[in-house]
């Protein structure tokens, strides 16, 4: 994790880095849930997951995108692909 700005929220950074390392190849984008939406959190997540497109707490998740859930919530209709630091990566159940 050396050489990366993490000071904004080190736990959230560890979650993002863990998510980035576990993303399936060719993932078109990542929607993040479980982090209170704010400009700073959006900039932080977008920067760390670049070049993969990111949406923070979106109303709708674009087709094909992965859900990265920070925390213990598990939205219905999604299945866990892999656990990550303090969260999970999820894909549509069907």
């Amino acid at each position: 994790m050396h050489g990366t700005a993490a000071a904004f929220d080190r736990q959230f950074y560890a979650f993002l880095e863990s998510s980035r390392r576990n993303l399936p190849p060719g993932t078109p984008g990542v929607a993040i849930l479980g982090m209170a939406p704010s400009n700073v959190a959006l900039y932080f997540a977008t920067y760390h997951l670049a070049p993969t497109p990111v949406l923070l707490a979106p109303q709708r998740v674009p087709p094909g995108w992965i859900l990265a859930v920070y925390g213990t919530d598990r939205p219905p209709g999604w299945k866990v692909i892999t656990p990550v630091w303090k969260g999970v990566l999820m894909a549509p159940a069907s």
């Binding site: 050396h2 050489g3 990366t4 700005a5 993490a6 000071a7 904004f8 400009n39 700073v40 959006l42 900039y43 932080f44 977008t46 920067y47 670049a50 070049p51 497109p53 949406l55």
Partner: protein, 453 residues
């Protein structure tokens, strides 16, 4: 700490190599009377230009950006050596009739203060990886996308969810970041922060060296560099990673070369002005404002300086306009998202005056007046100087830009107060090197070199 030193040494090596090659290349840009310091300032700017340009050139040529950077630097080195061999006798000798040191203790003190300022800023810049909001949202983000994708994805200009990244901004700094990362082999936003103390050092060299060439005494030139080196509002941890520090160097180089053109100091001044103009519009949108201000100052100057207007037009305005046109063709028509230009016409024009008042009021009472302990000595120094035309023009350029930075927030979508609070101090701090050059020249310089052959 093992993880930091290797990439830090890598970035230092890249920057030193680019600066050294740029130094050799600067022989063709700098006048023959130019000293080592000024040449080093221009050389570093040239070296960084080659690095940043290597990325889009590599993408266009479908080559590896790393090897393109190596190729461009090698070609620049070969060209410089060939030119030096043709002119017989290596680098032009540095001759300065005023180089006799009158007060060595004072000079040593000033050199110590300069080194102290650079060391303190290096500590600020390198204590942690670059973290500012605008670094994460704009400059670092775009550089990282370009490096990680190995391309410039169209979504950088078209994706509405990336509107926060200021899609209309130029890509000079992101290309530079990407180039450093390609050469380093990884994205390391801690080691890459070393770029910024290097930029500070280049600015100080360009300032002191130019002042010496324009007749300032050694204590005045070094004194102005020593004061600038301590200027924390510009050289701060927060600004590390943003465009203000690179832009401050570019503004200084542009201003110096502009007054060189107006004073007809040497035939290469127009070439330097063209480079300054290209760097200005490649670094930030207000680069275009700087170029326009330069042209305006030329027109408002006395008859002799005004007669240089065609040269200013050709060297500054045309390259800037061409570069902006290329950017528009490539990226499409991207509006300045932070501004609502509808306030300049009906029906919103009636709201403009209260917005101007709000912007000026906020700037004066929340930024300018609280800074009076620093601004008062500045005013005294300006008042103490002589009316040296070149110094006056540099100060006029700085004043014009500061006025625009104060008034433009009147058109801000999120309100004048918000924009003044978030950007006025930051953007005006980039005018510090230019202001320092103007003040120092009025205090102890102003000897024009006249037209050289």
């Amino acid at each position: 700490m093992n993880g930091l030193w290797a990439p830090l040494a890598g970035v230092a090596t890249i920057l030193l190599a680019a600066g050294a090659i740029g130094y050799l290349l600067a022989v063709d840009f700098a006048p023959s009377s130019c000293g080592r310091a000024e040449r080093a300032g221009w050389g570093f700017a040239l070296g960084l230009t080659l690095l940043a340009a290597s990325v889009p050139v590599a993408f266009l040529a479908h080559m590896s950006p790393r090897w393109m950077a190596v190729l461009l630097l090698a070609l620049a080195l070969a060209f410089s050596l060939w030119r030096l061999r043709r002119t017989r006798g290596g680098l032009p000798s540095i001759s300065n009739p005023k180089s006799k040191v009158q007060n060595p203790k004072l000079i040593l003190l000033l050199l110590f203060l300069i080194a102290f300022g650079v060391a303190v800023y290096a500590l600020r810049a390198l204590t942690e990886p670059m973290w500012s909001n605008d670094y994460l949202a704009i400059w670092g983000f775009k550089g990282k996308v370009i490096f990680s994708a190995g391309a410039v994805p169209r979504r950088l200009f078209t994706d509405p969810s990336l509107a926060f990244s200021r899609q209309e901004y130029p890509l000079g700094l992101p290309f530079l970041y990407a180039s450093l990362a390609f050469l380093l082999g990884r994205w390391d936003d801690h080691a890459m922060a070393l770029l910024f103390p290097f930029l500070q050092a280049a600015t100080l060299l360009a300032l002191a060296g130019w002042l010496r060439r324009r007749g300032a005494s050694r204590p005045v030139a070094l004194g102005s560099a020593a004061l600038l080196a301590q200027f924390e509002p510009l050289y701060s941890a927060f600004h590390t990673g943003l465009a203000e520090i690179p832009l401050s160097l570019v503004i200084l180089l542009f201003g110096e070369s502009l007054v060189d053109v107006l004073d007809r100091t040497d035939p290469r001044a127009a070439l330097r002005l063209a480079l300054g103009s290209v760097l200005a519009v490649s670094t930030k949108n207000e680069g275009l404002m700087l170029v326009a201000a330069g042209a305006l100052i030329c027109l408002l100057s006395g008859r002799k300086a005004r007669s240089a207007f065609p040269r200013v037009l050709a060297a500054a305005v045309v390259p800037a306009a061409v570069l902006v046109a290329i950017g528009r063709l490539w990226k499409g028509a991207l509006p300045l998202a932070a501004f609502e230009f509808g306030y300049l016409g009906p029906p919103l024009v009636f709201e403009l005056l209260p917005r101007v008042r709000e912007a000026v009021h906020t700037a004066l009472f929340e930024v300018v007046l609280p800074a009076w302990p620093g601004l008062l000595p500045l005013a005294v120094l300006i008042a103490a100087g002589r009316g040296v035309p070149a110094g006056n023009r540099l100060l006029a350029l700085a004043l014009f830009c500061a006025a625009v930075y104060m008034l433009l927030p009147s058109l801000a979508v999120l309100g004048p107060e918000w924009m003044i609070r978030t950007s006025f101090a930051r953007t005006t701090s980039a005018l510090a090197p230019l202001t320092a050059a103007g003040i120092a020249l009025r205090l102890g310089g102003g000897v024009s070199e006249g037209v050289s052959s």
